[in-house]
């Protein structure tokens, strides 16, 4: 019999971490597979999460592929399904299907410097790459992580950042001036220009709000990064996740299958419909 691509597996919420608060709060969910039918994934891939009766949402798998016994998802409260997740309790059972999408070609980047630039919840899709790169630290050159949030309270993965500092150069920033904030104040693209990482033998990976991505890519260009050296993800509205329902379609690509990871060079050849 054919695999039923629309039938989710059952996942169990094993942990809930409040990352940020406010109108668009972010929570991180640890999801286990009580039936032992979990799947492997690669950095950058996503899964369709659902709460029965509320609907499905495509969410990036935020944990590293090296972590096998659970998957982690950081979900920003946006609408119907994401709100249902924010109302969920530990132990709740959910639907999960995947993994979907392509991956960051991490193996192709061996020996190169890696620059990660994230903003807001946009850190989630690139977090597994960061985690994996750090876990395989010796395979890569210099690792720099830029991350910016509105205020220090809006910073995700606070504890993990502390640990990360041992293996990577962490450049945090907040948009709004704050008393006692030790690091950069200003937008991420500006921080990037300020620190000016070298493009030589480097790969830049960015994800965040569209407006941030736009300026980050502009600035990377100014810093001398070639289009092929820049990677990002695009997150069009998705329903099926399996290249059929049509709404994530950009040019000839169904992003859920061909994306969400694109090099800037590839993206430039597609229509600007994302």
């Amino acid at each position: 019999m054919m695999d039923n691509i629309y039938l989710p597996k059952i996942g169990r919420i094993a942990g809930i971490e409040e990352e940020t608060q406010g109108g668009r709060a972010i929570k991180t969910f640890k999801v286990e597979f009580p039936d032992g039918d979990g799947f492997e994934h690669a950095c950058g891939q996503c899964a369709m999460l659902s709460i029965f009766g509320r609907g499905e949402s495509m969410i990036s798998i935020a944990s590293s592929p090296l972590v096998k016994d659970y998957k982690q998802f950081s979900i920003m409260r946006m609408g119907r399904v994401t709100t249902a997740f924010h109302e969920a309790r530990i132990g709740d059972l959910i639907g999960i299907r995947g993994p979907y999408g392509n991956q960051f070609p991490l193996d192709d980047w061996k020996g190169r410097d890696l620059v990660f630039i994230g903003g807001g919840v946009g850190l989630a899709p690139i977090w597994p790459v960061i985690q994996t790169a750090v876990a395989r630290r010796e395979e890569f050159g210099k690792i720099t992580v830029f991350y910016g949030a509105r205020t220090s309270r809006d910073i995700m993965y606070k504890a993990d950042f502390e640990r990360l500092k041992g293996s990577a150069d962490v450049q945090l920033s907040v948009d709004a001036p704050e008393a006692g904030w030790p690091a950069y104040v200003g937008f991420v693209p500006a921080n990037l220009m300020d620190k000016a990482p070298s493009p030589d033998n480097a790969i830049a990976v960015t994800c965040g709000p569209p407006i941030m991505i736009k300026f980050v890519i502009q600035n990377l260009g100014q810093l001398g990064f070639a289009d092929e050296q820049i990677y990002t993800t695009i997150e069009n509205k998705m329903k099926c996740g399996v290249g059929k329902c049509g709404r994530c379609n950009v040019g000839k690509d169904y992003v859920c299958v061909k994306g969400p990871v694109y090099s800037w060079a590839e993206l430039k050849s597609l229509p600007q419909e994302y």
Binding site: M1, L7, I10, T82
Partner: protein
């Protein structure tokens, strides 16, 4: 296999198909559409309003039923259809050509079990178009023909008092076998008559637009041109064009709830002409105007699908032109694009 079926014998053939669901065109409510056939089938139809795609890709498909009480394990009951063999009569060649295109979509990367559960049981009996059915037919311009067998299991041709019936696929031949008593062997004269009829049919004037092969480039060239906005100016975004299209396949998935935690996950047709099709939850909409949506519809059919699958995703049935409430005309759009 080629046979001759006297018109009054159609009934017998249909009667032989016991155990199958038989559908055929019917004129009701002032429109032609497919309906379950009881006894006779009226094959005097112009093209049906709805396309044949709905037999494999119905407008509403329940994926599974769920029931989920807090603290309990959700029960998920998949509802894969188990249809009987379904024979559809009177399928026009344009609709026939639509099916292989849909097959591609529902197979590539991930195979869609719901589509295929129905599709595998579907037998399409085509009827060649001896004359065009609306001033908006353009199957030839779209790379097909009024007598195309592509996608059909059987092709019938009206020879006045009788039909010429050709079995195209094994499935089709089997269906003909079941009604073998109704058929006569086709004579050489019959074959000549069919060839002549087909030749004549192909000469009937139809809508045209520039060179099909040049169109992808023309679209690329005009991607940013203002012509899309101009052509789409009066579009009302109703999506009739895509709902009726034999190859449009976009859909939506929703949980329909009957009581808290209990309900069905349902697939319903959706389409790229609806304003919220691509609307992100944030409010950002990558295709937020009519021009972009028209461009998407046309590009998907004549550029992207060609890039991915080396053929157009339009078969020239002309429904989207005839049924568009405000006269938006894909042939005219293509013509303008080719010429700009």
């Amino acid at each position: 296999m080629e046979k001759i079926l006297a018109k009054e014998k159609l009934r017998d053939w249909v009667a032989s198909l016991q155990g199958c669901e038989v559908h055929g065109p019917a004129f009701a409510d002032a429109v032609w559409n497919y309906a379950k056939a009881e006894g006779d089938i009226d094959l005097r139809h112009t093209n049906t309003v709805g396309s044949v795609k709905a037999f494999a890709f119905p407008q509403r498909e329940v994926f599974f039923r769920f029931e989920h009480k807090r603290g309990e394990r959700p029960s998920l009951v998949p509802t894969l259809p188990e249809p009987r063999p379904t024979v559809v009569f009177g399928v026009r060649p344009c609709d026939g050509r639509g099916m292989p295109r849909n097959d591609t979509v529902f197979s590539k990367e991930f195979k869609d079990p719901y589509y295929w559960a129905r599709r595998d049981k579907l037998i399409l009996v085509g009827l060649a178009c001896i004359e065009p059915h609306s001033p908006n037919c353009f199957c030839q311009a779209a790379g097909g023909s009024p007598c195309s067998e592509e996608g059909l299991d059987i092709l019938m041709t009206d020879l006045g008092d009788r039909y010429h019936v050709r079995g195209v696929t094994a499935k089709g031949i089997e269906v003909m076998e079941r009604g073998r008593d109704a058929f006569k062997e086709a004579s050489g004269g019959d074959q000549a008559a069919v060839a002549k009829a087909h030749e004549a049919a192909c000469k009937e004037p139809q809508r045209t637009f520039g060179d099909l092969v040049a169109i992808p480039d023309a679209i690329r060239r005009n991607f940013e041109a203002p012509l899309w906005d101009e052509m789409a100016r009066h579009c009302i975004g109703c999506g009739i064009c895509t709902f009726l299209c034999p190859t449009c396949h976009c859909f939506d998935i929703n949980d329909e709830v009957s009581s808290p935690g209990k309900g069905e996950r349902v697939r319903t047709w959706d389409n790229c002409q609806f304003p919220d099709f691509t609307l992100h939850t944030s409010g950002h909409n990558p295709r937020d105007n009519l021009g972009m949506r028209l461009r998407q519809r046309v590009s998907h059919k004549f550029l992207y699908f060609v890039e991915n699958h080396q053929t157009q995703q339009c078969t020239g049935c002309g429904r989207c032109i005839s049924e568009c409430p405000v006269g938006i005309d894909i042939a005219a759009v293509l013509e303008r694009v080719s010429q700009s």
